[in-house]
C-alpha cells in the first residue's frame, strides 16, 4: 500500500488545503525544534562554564517563549488534521452518494449495498487516524528530517554523515521484513480469519447447539479455538514486530554513535561542547517522524484502505463513464422526442389505447440473459398475474419496466415508447423488499409527496390488508418496528396510495403476498380487483393460487437458456 494516494487530492479538495497548512505548520515546528535545541545547548554550555543565572535569564526566557510557541504549533497541527479529516470525509461521502444516485439501483445491486453504506460512514471514519496520526508525521518526515540533517551537517559533518548513513537502513529493513511478514501472513491469513470468526459462529449458533444438547461441549472448543488463534498470531507477530525493532534500533544506535563520536572528539578538543550538545539533541529529532510513520502505519492503513475503496467505487467503470453518464441525458432527450412524437402521432393514431406492450424485450446482464424476446400486452381494467419459476426473469422484467435496466426491444405505454433512465410518473410499484423509512406509516405511504392525505392512507392500508394498522405508528430506521408481514403490507399500501393520488396508469406488485396469511391475501385480491376496475393496468408477480384464480390474464415466463 502506498503511504499516500494522490487521488485523495483529486477527489477531496480539503486534502489539498490540509497538506498546504500542514506543511507550513510542520516547517514552523521544525524551526522551533532547532531553536529549542540551540537555546538549551547554549544555556547548558554557558552554565557549565560558569555563567550565572542572571546572565542567562535572557536565553532561558527566549527558551520558554520557544516552548510556548512549540506547544501552540503542536495544537494547531492537530486542529488542522481534525478539520481536514472532517472535511475530506464529508467530501468523499457526498461524491460516493451522488455517484450512487447517478448510476441507479441496477448498478448498485452489483455492489453489496450494506457494504457501501458501512464504507461511507464507519469506513471513512478510519480516515480520522490517518489524518490525525499518520499524515502529519509523513509531512514532518518529508520536511523536518532533511532540514535537521542539513543543520547537523553544517554544525558537525561526522554526526550528519552518521545519520545519513543509518537512516536508509530503516526503509531497507522495513521492506525486507515487510516481505518476510507478508509471506508468513499469507500462509496464516485464511486460518486466522476463520479462527477469529470462530467464536462469533459459536455464540450465534448457541440456540441451535442447545436444541441438539451440544452446548456444554463448546467450552473446550472455545478454548482450543482461542489458543490456536494465539499460537498462530504470535508466530506472525514475532516477525511483524521485527520492523518496529529495526526502527527503534536504528534511531537509538545512531544517537549512541553520534554521542560517542562527539565525546571522543571533545576529549581531544577538536569540538566545542555547545556544538556537541546541539547535535546530540537534534539526532533523535531527525529520527522521530520516521519512527512515528512506521509506528502509525497500521493505524493509518485502515483509513487508506477505506479511501481506496471509495476511489474504486468512484472510478468503477470509469472507462464507460462518459458513455453511461451521457446515456441518460441522451435517453431522456430521445424519450422526450419520442413521447412528443407519440403524443402528436397518438392524437390521431389508434395506438393511444392505454395498453402496455412489451415488444421483443431482451435483457442482458453480463453474460446472463434473464429475459429473451419477451412480448406481452397488459390492458387497462385487467388484473394480470405474472408467473414463472425462480430465475425466469420476473424481477428483471419489472426493473426494465421501471427503467432501471437497459433492454433491447420496446416497452410501449399508450403508444409512447419508454426508455431506460427516465422517470415513470405513470407507474406505482412495490418490490419484494418492503424498503420502508424512518417516520410514521402515513409518511411512508406518502413517500415523494409534500403532503399526506389521511383518507387515502386509510383506504390504501385497507386494500393492502393492513386496515388494522395505525398510520400514526412511528417506524425506526429502515422501517424497524414492524413484523415482516406488516412491512410488506405497508409497502403494498404505499404503491396503492401512489396509484390513487398520482392517478398512475400502471400498478406493479412483486410477490405482495409471500408473507401474508390467507385472510389478508383475500382482502388484497379484492383491493387489487377494485383498482383494476377503476381503469388501471394491475400487474402482480405471484405464485399464490388465490391470486392466480382472481387474474384476468396470466402471463407465464419460462426459464431461458443461459448463454
Amino acid at each position: 500500500m502506498r503511504p499516500f494516494d494522490p487521488r485523495l487530492l483529486r477527489y477531496a479538495t480539503a486534502a489539498r488545503w490540509f497538506l498546504l497548512v500542514g506543511a507550513l505548520l510542520g516547517l514552523a515546528q521544525t524551526v522551533t525544534v532547532i531553536a529549542f535545541s540551540w537555546l538549551l545547548s547554549q544555556s547548558v554550555t554557558l552554565a557549565v562554564t560558569g555563567a550565572s543565572l542572571a546572565s542567562l535569564a535572557g536565553t532561558i526566557g527566549t527558551l520558554a517563549g520557544v516552548i510556548v510557541v512549540r506547544a501552540v504549533l503542536v495544537w494547531l497541527l492537530e486542529v488542522a488534521s481534525t478539520r481536514g479529516a472532517a472535511q475530506v470525509k464529508s467530501q468523499l461521502r457526498r461524491q460516493v452518494l451522488d455517484r450512487v444516485a447517478e448510476r441507479g439501483p441496477d448498478w448498485l445491486s452489483g455492489h453489496a449495498s450494506a457494504a457501501v453504506s458501512t464504507l461511507v460512514t464507519q469506513g471513512l471514519d478510519a480516515l480520522d487516524n490517518y489524518f490525525a496520526r499518520y499524515l502529519p508525521q509523513l509531512l514532518l518526515a518529508a520536511i523536518s528530517t532533511p532540514l535537521l540533517i542539513l543543520v547537523m551537517l553544517s554544525q558537525d559533518l561526522p554526526s550528519g554523515i552518521t545519520v545519513i548513513v543509518v537512516l536508509p537502513f530503516i526503509p531497507v529493513f522495513m521492506v525486507l521484513i515487510g516481505q518476510a511478514t507478508q509471506s508468513v501472513q499469507r500462509q496464516q491469513w485464511e486460518s486466522l480469519q476463520r479462527l477469529s470468526t470462530g467464536f462469533l459462529d459459536l455464540v450465534g449458533g448457541l440456540g441451535t447447539l442447545k436444541i441438539y444438547g451440544r452446548e456444554r461441549r463448546q467450552y473446550a472448543r472455545v478454548h482450543s479455538i482461542t489458543e490456536d488463534y494465539r499460537t498462530r498470531t504470535m508466530k506472525v507477530l514475532r516477525v511483524s514486530f521485527l520492523s518496529g525493532f529495526v526502527l527503534e534500533l536504528a534511531a537509538s544506535l545512531s544517537v549512541a554513535l553520534v554521542a560517542v563520536s562527539i565525546g571522543l572528539r571533545l576529549v581531544d578538543g577538536s569540538l566545542a561542547l555547545g556544538v556537541g550538545l546541539f547535535v546530540l539533541l537534534l539526532a533523535p529529532e531527525a529520527f522521530l517522524p520516521v519512527r512515528q510513520v512506521g509506528a502509525q502505519f497500521h493505524a493509518a492503513a485502515d483509513g487508506l484502505a477505506a479511501a481506496e475503496e471509495v476511489f474504486a467505487l468512484l472510478e468503477d467503470g470509469d472507462a464507460g463513464t462518459a458513455a453511461s453518464s451521457s446515456a441518460p441525458a441522451a435517453a431522456s432527450a430521445a424519450s422526450a422526442a419520442a413521447s412528443a412524437a407519440a403524443a402528436s402521432a397518438g392524437a390521431s393514431g389508434p395506438a393511444e389505447d392505454g395498453v402496455l406492450r412489451f415488444e421483443h424485450v431482451t435483457i442482458r446482464r453480463g453474460t446472463d440473459v434473464p429475459v429473451q424476446d419477451f412480448s406481452a400486452e397488459f390492458r387497462p381494467g385487467e388484473l394480470a398475474v405474472v408467473v414463472g419459476p425462480s430465475g425466469a426473469g420476473k424481477s428483471s422484467l419489472v426493473a426494465a419496466l421501471q427503467g432501471f435496466v437497459p433492454f433491447d426491444g420496446r416497452i410501449v405505454l399508450n403508444g409512447a415508447a419508454q426508455t431506460p433512465g427516465t422517470p415513470r410518473p405513470w407507474l406505482a410499484w412495490a418490490g419484494q423488499r418492503p424498503g420502508l423509512f424512518q417516520g410514521t406509516v402515513a409518511d411512508n405511504l406518502a413517500l415523494g409527496d409534500a403532503s399526506v392525505d389521511l383518507g387515502t392512507v386509510l383506504r390504501s392500508l385497507e386494500s393492502a390488508g393492513a386496515g388494522d394498522l395505525d398510520p400514526a405508528i412511528v417506524l425506526g430506521v429502515a422501517g424497524e418496528g414492524l413484523s415482516g408481514g406488516q412491512a410488506q403490507r405497508v409497502a403494498t399500501a404505499r404503491a396503492v396510495y401512489r396509484a390513487t393520488t398520482h392517478d398512475c396508469a400502471v400498478l406493479v406488485l412483486d410477490e405482495p403476498s409471500s408473507a401474508l396469511d390467507e385472510a389478508a391475501e383475500t382482502v388484497l385480491v379484492v383491493g387489487l380487483r377494485r383498482l383494476a376496475r377503476e381503469g388501471r393496468i394491475v400487474i402482480v408477480v405471484s405464485h399464490r393460487p388465490a391470486l392466480r384464480s382472481a387474474a384476468d390474464r396470466i402471463v407465464a415466463l419460462t426459464e431461458v437458456a443461459h448463454v
Partner: protein, 583 residues
C-alpha cells in the same frame, strides 16, 4: 449503524450507574491477565522505557564530561553504557510487545469462556435484540476489543507511571530541587492532559455521536432503498436531507476540532517547563557550596525531555480506555449476570447428573405426546405476554398446522416449547409437566427447526454430524437425499463442501433443508418447524413445506408446523389458528 443503536440501547438498558460500573468491573477483570502473565511484559516495557531515558542521560553525561577533557579511560564506562542502553532499549521493547501480546491473547481464552458461560443460560431468548446478526457480531467484537484493556491501557499507563517515579528518584538523587520540579511538572502535565482528554473528548463524543448516528441512518436508508426512492420520485429530496445531515456533522466536527489537540499541547508545554525548571534550580547549584558537577547538571536538564517522550502515550491510552469502557459496558448490559425470570433455569428441580428418565415408549394413538392447556409466554423485559391461551394436543403421527397473523406470537410459542422461554398454564410432555423436567431433557424429545437455521462455517458433514455424532457418511447422504439435497450436495463436491460463513454459500431454502436433515438425524419424537418459508421464495417454499410434512408422515413423527402461509389440507391432520395480538 449498529454502533449507535447499541450505544443507545446500552444507555437505556443500563440501570443505575453504580450497578453498571460494578458489572463493568467484573467484565474488565476477565480481560486483565493474572500478575504472573502480565509481569514479564510490564518488566520489559519498564526496562525499555528506563533505557531510553538512560540513553539520553548517559549521552549527556558523556559529552559534558568529555568536554572537561579527562583521561579517556574515565569515559569508557559511559561509552559502554551509551551503547548498551541503545541496544537494550530496542531489544526490551521487542520483548515487551511479544510478552504483552502473548499474555493478552492467553487472557482472551478466559475472557471468551467467561462471557460464554454468561451467555449460555440466556441464549437464545434472553439475549433479546442481541440475537439479531449485527448486534451479535457487535457483542463478539466488543468482547475481543477488551484485549486492548491490558495491552493499550494498563500496560502503557503502568509503564509511564513507574518510569516517571524512577526518573524523579534518579534526578532527586543528583539534585533534590530538580527532582521536585520534574515531579511537579509530570503531575501537573499528566493531570491537565487527563482532564483535557476526558472532558473535551467526552463532550465532543457526546455531541457528535447522535449526529453520526443520524447520518448513518440516512445513508443506510438511501443506499438500501435507492430503487424505492427512484420509483417514487423522492430521491432528490432525500439526497438533500442527507446532505443537510452530513453538513451538520461536518460543522459540529469543525467546531469541536479546537479541543482535540489540547492534550498533546499540554504535554509538550510541561515537557518544556520541566526543562526550564531544571535549568532554573540547576544553574545556582553549579556554583554553590556542595553543588553538582557539570555532567550531573547536563543529566538533570536533559532527562525531563526523555521522560515526557514516554509520557506522550497517556492521551492515547486514555482514548483507548474510553473505547474499552464502552465495550465493557455494552458487554455487561447485553449479557447480564442474572438470568431473567422469563428464562427457565437450566437445571431447575432436576440435578443435571441424574440419569434422565427412560424415554417413555408411547404406543401410537394412545397417549398424546405433547399437550398444551392455556399456555402463555413472555419475553424478558416485556410487560405483556407475547402469546396467551394456546391449547392443543399433538399425538404421534399428528401433523398440525399452527396458523395465525404475523405478530400473534407463533415464534414465541416455538421458543417456549423447547424451553428457551418459561410458560404459564400447563405444558405436559408424555403426561409430565415440562416445568419439572430439565430443559435439556425436554429438548431431547422436542426438536425445533428455527426460522433462521444457523449454519456453522464448516463443511456440510460437520453441520449435520452434531445432530447425531455416530452417523456414518452413508447415513448423512441418505438423509440429504430425503430432504431433497442429494443432487445438490453431490454437485457441490459431497459432504466436505463448505457452507460459508453464516451459510453464505447456501440459499435460504437449502439452509432450511439442512436444518430439516439435522432434525431427522436427531430423530426427535416431536418436531416444531418455525416458519420454514420465511426466507424462501413462494414456489420453493411450497415444495419445502410438502417435503417437511411428507418425511414426517413417513416416520410417524409428530410435527407442529408454524406457518403464516396456507398449507394444503391433504398434508396435515389438523389446523390450529392463533388469534391476533390483543390490541
Amino acid at each position: 449503524m449498529s454502533d449507535f443503536r447499541t450505544t443507545a440501547k446500552a444507555r437505556t438498558v443500563a440501570g443505575t450507574p453504580a450497578a453498571v460500573s460494578a458489572e463493568m468491573r467484573a467484565v474488565l477483570r476477565f480481560a486483565q491477565p493474572s500478575a504472573r502473565h502480565f509481569a514479564p511484559g510490564l518488566a520489559a516495557g519498564v526496562l525499555s522505557a528506563c533505557f531510553a531515558v538512560a540513553l539520553l542521560a548517559s549521552s549527556a553525561w558523556l559529552i559534558t564530561r568529555a568536554a572537561e577533557q579527562p583521561p579517556i579511560m574515565f569515559l569508557s564506562m559511559a561509552v559502554v553504557g551509551v551503547r548498551a542502553f541503545a541496544l537494550g532499549r530496542s531489544a526490551f521493547r521487542y520483548l515487551e510487545r511479544l510478552a504483552s501480546h502473548d499474555a493478552a491473547f492467553r487472557q482472551l481464552a478466559h475472557l471468551r469462556l467467561g462471557v460464554f458461560a454468561r451467555i449460555l443460560p440466556l441464549a437464545p431468548a434472553g439475549l433479546g435484540g442481541t440475537s439479531r446478526g449485527d448486534l451479535l457480531s457487535r457483542l463478539v467484537r466488543d468482547v475481543d476489543d477488551l484485549q486492548d484493556f491490558p495491552l493499550r491501557v494498563v500496560q502503557p499507563l503502568a509503564t509511564a507511571g513507574i518510569l516517571a517515579s524512577v526518573s524523579v528518584l534518579g534526578v532527586w538523587l543528583v539534585l533534590p530541587a530538580a527532582g521536585v520540579t520534574l515531579a511537579l511538572s509530570l503531575l501537573a502535565g499528566g493531570l491537565l492532559a487527563t482532564i483535557a482528554s476526558t472532558v473535551l473528548s467526552a463532550r465532543s463524543e457526546r455531541l457528535l455521536a447522535p449526529l453520526r448516528g443520524t447520518l448513518a441512518g440516512e445513508v443506510l436508508e438511501v443506499v438500501e432503498n435507492l430503487d424505492v426512492l427512484s420509483a417514487f420520485g423522492a430521491l432528490d429530496a432525500r439526497l438533500a436531507t442527507l446532505a443537510a445531515a452530513d453538513d451538520r456533522l461536518c460543522r459540529a466536527s469543525l467546531r469541536r476540532s479546537l479541543g482535540v489537540g489540547v492534550q498533546g499541547a499540554v504535554l509538550s508545554l510541561f515537557a518544556g517547563l520541566a526543562t526550564v525548571g531544571a535549568l532554573w534550580v540547576g544553574i545556582p547549584a553549579l556554583s554553590g557550596p556542595g553543588g553538582i558537577s557539570g555532567p550531573g547538571f547536563a543529566v538533570v536538564v536533559l532527562v525531563p525531555m526523555a521522560v515526557f517522550e514516554v509520557f506522550a502515550v497517556i492521551p492515547l491510552a486514555l482514548g483507548v480506555w474510553r473505547q474499552v469502557r464502552s465495550s465493557a459496558a455494552r458487554v455487561a448490559s447485553a449479557v447480564p449476570t442474572s438470568v431473567p425470570a422469563e428464562i427457565p433455569a437450566e437445571s431447575v428441580n432436576v440435578p443435571t447428573d441424574a440419569p434422565p428418565d427412560a424415554p417413555t415408549t408411547t404406543s401410537v394413538g394412545v397417549r398424546p405426546v405433547l399437550e398444551l392447556t392455556d399456555v402463555g409466554a413472555s419475553w424478558p423485559g416485556s410487560a405483556t405476554p407475547a402469546v396467551t391461551g394456546i391449547t392443543l394436543r399433538l399425538a404421534p403421527g399428528d401433523r398440525v398446522h399452527l396458523a395465525g397473523p404475523s405478530g400473534a406470537g407463533k415464534t414465541t410459542l416455538a421458543q417456549t416449547l423447547v424451553r428457551f422461554l418459561d410458560y404459564t398454564g400447563s405444558y405436559r410432555l408424555d403426561g409430565v409437566e415440562a416445568r419439572t423436567l430439565a430443559p435439556a431433557e425436554v429438548r431431547s424429545r422436542v426438536g425445533l427447526c428455527e426460522q433462521r437455521p444457523w449454519l456453522f462455517d464448516d463443511s456440510i458433514r460437520q453441520n449435520l454430524l452434531f445432530a447425531r455424532e455416530t452417523a456414518t457418511d452413508p447415513d448423512l447422504l441418505a438423509v440429504l437425499d430425503r430432504v431433497g439435497l442429494g443432487d445438490w450436495a453431490a454437485r457441490r463436491g459431497g459432504l466436505d463442501a463448505r457452507v460459508g460463513e453464516r451459510g453464505a454459500l447456501v440459499s435460504g431454502g437449502q439452509a432450511q433443508r439442512i436444518a430439516l436433515a439435522r432434525a431427522l438425524l436427531a430423530d426427535f419424537p416431536v418436531l416444531i418447524v418455525d416458519e420454514p418459508t420465511a426466507n424462501v421464495d413462494e414456489e420453493q417454499g411450497d415444495r419445502l413445506v410438502r417435503d417437511i410434512l411428507v418425511t414426517a408422515q413417513e416416520d410417524g413423527r409428530a410435527v407442529l408446523l408454524i406457518s403464516h402461509t396456507p398449507v394444503p389440507d391433504d398434508l396435515i391432520t389438523a389446523r390450529v389458528v392463533v388469534p391476533g395480538p390483543a390490541r
